[in-house]
Symmetry: C2
Subunit: 419 residues, 2 copies
C-alpha cells in the first residue's frame, strides 16, 4: 500500500473508533489509562532499550544537546509519563457535561451538552512522551487520535504506543482509538493535513515554529496551535516597584524556553527613573541579557542596542527587549503592532489602567499583576493541556479536555408543535 | 483597481473597523441600529424604486416565481426589516459577557470573557433583507462585516446598506464597519473565500445548496454553514399516537422549505400497524406526497415507492420518505447512514429510548417529543440567528450573537510569580 492508502485506512479506522469512544463510559476510558500506566512501568526496560537506539542514531547524526535531551528517556521520565496518564484518569470526563440549560415559554427544555469532536490528528517532533500525553487527552475527551511522531523517536514512541494499545484492549475499547502512524514517510504528514477524506476533525501540531508554520499554512482542517509566544509586559506608571521586580524576573527567567516566557518589557516613561534600573539590575543578576532602546540605554549604558528585529523576536532564551513608552496608549500600540496574540501582562495599581488593558488587548491570555509564566493549562486548573492556541475559533488559550469537545443541543418536549 | 485589489482594501478597512467596534459600547451599537431602522422607513419609497429595477431585470430573464418572491420588497417587508434591526438592538450585548469565572489556590482570579471574532464575511444570494439582518447581527456582536450580495439584488441591497452606513455614522462608528462589496464581479467571492490576506475570520454563506457547497469546498477560512437539513424523526415503539400525529404533520408541513422541516420518518415495526396509517392519512390530508418502503406500501398501497435516492434527498417540499425499521438500533443506524447532522427527533414515551437517541446521534440539534421545525435560533431564545451550522467547531446549531464571538482569559493577580 502507498503511504496515502495507509493513511486513508488509518483515518477510516479512527472515525469508526471515535464513534465507539463517543459512547464509552468514563470508567472504561479511565481503565484504559490506568492499565496503560501499569504497562509503561512494567515495560520500562524495553522502552529504555528502544530509546537507546533512537538516541544513538541521533548522536551519530551529531544532533544538538537540546535535541538529544528532548528525545532521551530514563526511568524517572517514564515514571513521569505513567503518572501523567493516572492524572488524566482522575480528571472529570468532559463528555456529557451540560454547558447550559434553559426552558422556553412553550415548555421546551434545552440543554447544550458536550460531545467529542471525533478524530484528532497530532503531529509532533522528538519528544516521545507526547505519544502518551496527547493520546490520553484525546481518549479521555472521547476522541480517537492519529499520532504522527518524529522519525527520530520512532522506536521509543512505538513501544509507548503499544502500552496505550494494551490499555485500550484491557478496557474493551478498540485499539484503533489511538493510532501511531506506522511509517516515517513524510508524505504521511501531508496526508493528515489534507484531513484524510474528512476523517480528521482537528489537527494539533506539537513542536517547533517550522512545524507549526507548515501545519498552519497547509492544513485543510482546523488547527489548534500557536506559532509563537511573543509575550509582553507593561510596567504602568501606577506599578508597585517591589511587585514589578519580582514578577518581571519570574516572567523572563523562571523558564526561558516556554511559550509563556516574557520577551518584551514596556516601561511607562513616568516611572522609568524609579523602576527601570532596579528591574534591569535584577535581570542582569539573574543572567539575562538586555536589549534596550535609546531611552533605556541612557539609564543603563551597559545594555545592548535593541533593533526593530528585537521587537519581533521570540528569544526563548535569557534575553529581554526593553522599551520606554510615553504612556499606556503607546504601550498598547506596541502590543498591537508586535504581539503574537498569545499572552500579555500589565503591572499596575491603577484598576482603570488594568481594565483598559483587558478591554483593548486582543490576545488569548491577559494577566494583571501576575507572571506571564502562568499561561499554562495546568496553572489554569484544567489538569492538563495538549497545547495553547492563539486562533479565535473554538479553542483559545490553553487547550484542555473541555476544549477538545464540541457540543450539541438536546431539546426535551411534551409534544410541542411549532405555531 | 482590479477586483482583487478592491477586495484587499475592503478587508484592510474591515479589520481596522473591527478593532474600533470591539471597544464600542452597547449604547453606540444600538444607536446605529435604531438610526438605520429609522432611515429604512424614511427611505422606503427609494428602496422600493430600486427594488423594482432589480425585479424587472430578473423578470426579463424569466426567473422563477419563487426567485422573484425572495427578491421582491414591499412596504410591509421593509417595515419587517426595520423591526428586525430594532429587535437586535434590544438583545443583550454578548461582548464582555463572562462565560466562566474561577479562583485558583494561589489567589489568581480567572475569567473567560466574550470578545468579538473580528471580521465576518457574509455571502448571500437574492434576498436583499440579508444585508440588514446579517450586518446588524455582526455589528451587535462587535464584528465588522463584509457583505457580498447577489448581483440580482444589487440595487435593493445597496440602498438598504446606505441606511446601515447612515446609522453607523450617526452613532460615531466607522461606516466601514459594515461594507457591501461594490462590484458584482464574481471574482469578489473567490477573494473573500481566500480570506483577504487574513482579514476575514469567518465566512457565513446564506443561500442555496450550490452556494454553500462552493463556499465549503473553497474557503481557506472557517465557515459557519449547513449544506442541507435532511431531518429524521423516529416513531419509537413507545410513542404516543396522538402526539406522533400532531408532531409529524407539523414537522413536515408547517413550512416545507426551511432546513428544519422533516424529510424522513422512521417507524418502529412494533407500532407500524397501529401508528403508521393514521399518520400517513393525516399527511395525505395535509397535501403531502408519501414515498415508502415495501413495508409501508403493504399497509398503505397508495403511497409511492421510495428508492435509495429518497433516503438521501432533502425535498424542501411537500414530500416525505417513510421507512419501517426493526427497532431503535435500526433507526439509529439509518440516521448514521443518511443524516446531514442538522436536526433529528424522536417521539417516545420511554425515557431510556430518548436517552439512547440523545447519546448516540451526532447531530447539532436533537429533539425528544417536539417538532423538528423548532430548529431555529429564535425558537431557542437566541433572539436572532445568522444561520444554522452543522460543523463541530466553535458554532454548532443556531448561530446567534454569542456564537459570533470568541473569548479570552483575563487573569487578576496580586503580584503572583510562578513557583
Amino acid at each position: 500500500m502507498s503511504t496515502e492508502e495507509i493513511m486513508l485506512a488509518i483515518g477510516a479506522e479512527a472515525k469508526k473508533a471515535g464513534q465507539i469512544l463517543a459512547r464509552a463510559h468514563r470508567a472504561q476510558k479511565d481503565k484504559a489509562l490506568l492499565e496503560a500506566a501499569r504497562l509503561l512501568r512494567e515495560r520500562t526496560a524495553d522502552i529504555l532499550e528502544a530509546n537507546k537506539i533512537d538516541v544513538a542514531a541521533m548522536e551519530a547524526k551529531e544532533a544538538s544537546a537540546s535535541f538529544i535531551d528532548r528525545l532521551k528517556l530514563d526511568g524517572e521520565r517514564i515514571e513521569g509519563i505513567a503518572q501523567g496518564l493516572e492524572a488524566i484518569a482522575e480528571l472529570p470526563d468532559p463528555v456529557g457535561g451540560v454547558i447550559a440549560h434553559w426552558e422556553r415559554p412553550n415548555g421546551l427544555k434545552i440543554s447544550r451538552v458536550r460531545t467529542p469532536l471525533g478524530v484528532i490528528g497530532v503531529i509532533f517532533e522528538s519528544r516521545p512522551n507526547v505519544t502518551a500525553d496527547a493520546g490520553a487527552l484525546c481518549l479521555k475527551s472521547g476522541n480517537a487520535s492519529i499520532l504522527r511522531g518524529g522519525s527520530d523517536s520512532f522506536n521509543s514512541s512505538s513501544l509507548i504506543h503499544k502500552c496505550l494499545e494494551g490499555g485500550l484492549v484491557a478496557a474493551g475499547l478498540p485499539k484503533t482509538a489511538i493510532q501511531l502512524v506506522p511509517t516515517t514517510d513524510r508524505a504521511a504528514v501531508g496526508a493528515m493535513l489534507g484531513g484524510l477524506n474528512g476523517a480528521i476533525n482537528v489537527i494539533v501540531p506539537r513542536g517547533g515554529k517550522s512545524l507549526v508554520a507548515r501545519v498552519e499554512a497547509e492544513a485543510r482542517v482546523p488547527v489548534f496551535a500557536h506559532l509563537e509566544g511573543l509575550c509582553h509586559m507593561i510596567i504602568d506608571k501606577s506599578a508597585d516597584l517591589a511587585m514589578a521586580r519580582k514578577v518581571v524576573v519570574n516572567a523572563k527567567m523562571r523558564r526561558t524556553g516556554i511559550c509563556g516566557s516574557l520577551e518584551t518589557l514596556l516601561v511607562d516613561r513616568t516611572v522609568a527613573d524609579t523602576h527601570l534600573l532596579p528591574i534591569l539590575e535584577d535581570l542582569r543578576d539573574a543572567g539575562c541579557e538586555i536589549r534596550g532602546d535609546a531611552g533605556v540605554k541612557t539609564l543603563a549604558p551597559w545594555v545592548e542596542d535593541a533593533t526593530e528585529e528585537d521587537w519581533r523576536t521570540e528569544y526563548l532564551d535569557s534575553i529581554l527587549s526593553v522599551r520606554i513608552v510615553d504612556d499606556l496608549d503607546a504601550a498598547l500600540q506596541h502590543i498591537e503592532d508586535y504581539s503574537s496574540n498569545h499572552t500579555e501582562a500589565i503591572i499596575a495599581d491603577d484598576a482603570a489602567a488594568a481594565e483598559r488593558f483587558f478591554n483593548e488587548v486582543d490576545s488569548a491570555i491577559l494577566l494583571h499583576n501576575a507572571s506571564t509564566q502562568f499561561a499554562d493549562g495546568g496553572e489554569f486548573g484544567m489538569g492538563a493541556e495538549i497545547g495553547i492556541a492563539t486562533g479565535k475559533m473554538h479553542a483559545r488559550g490553553p487547550v484542555g479536555l473541555e476544549q477538545l469537545t464540541s457540543f450539541n443541543y438536546r431539546v426535551r418536549g411534551t409534544g410541542q408543535a411549532r405555531p
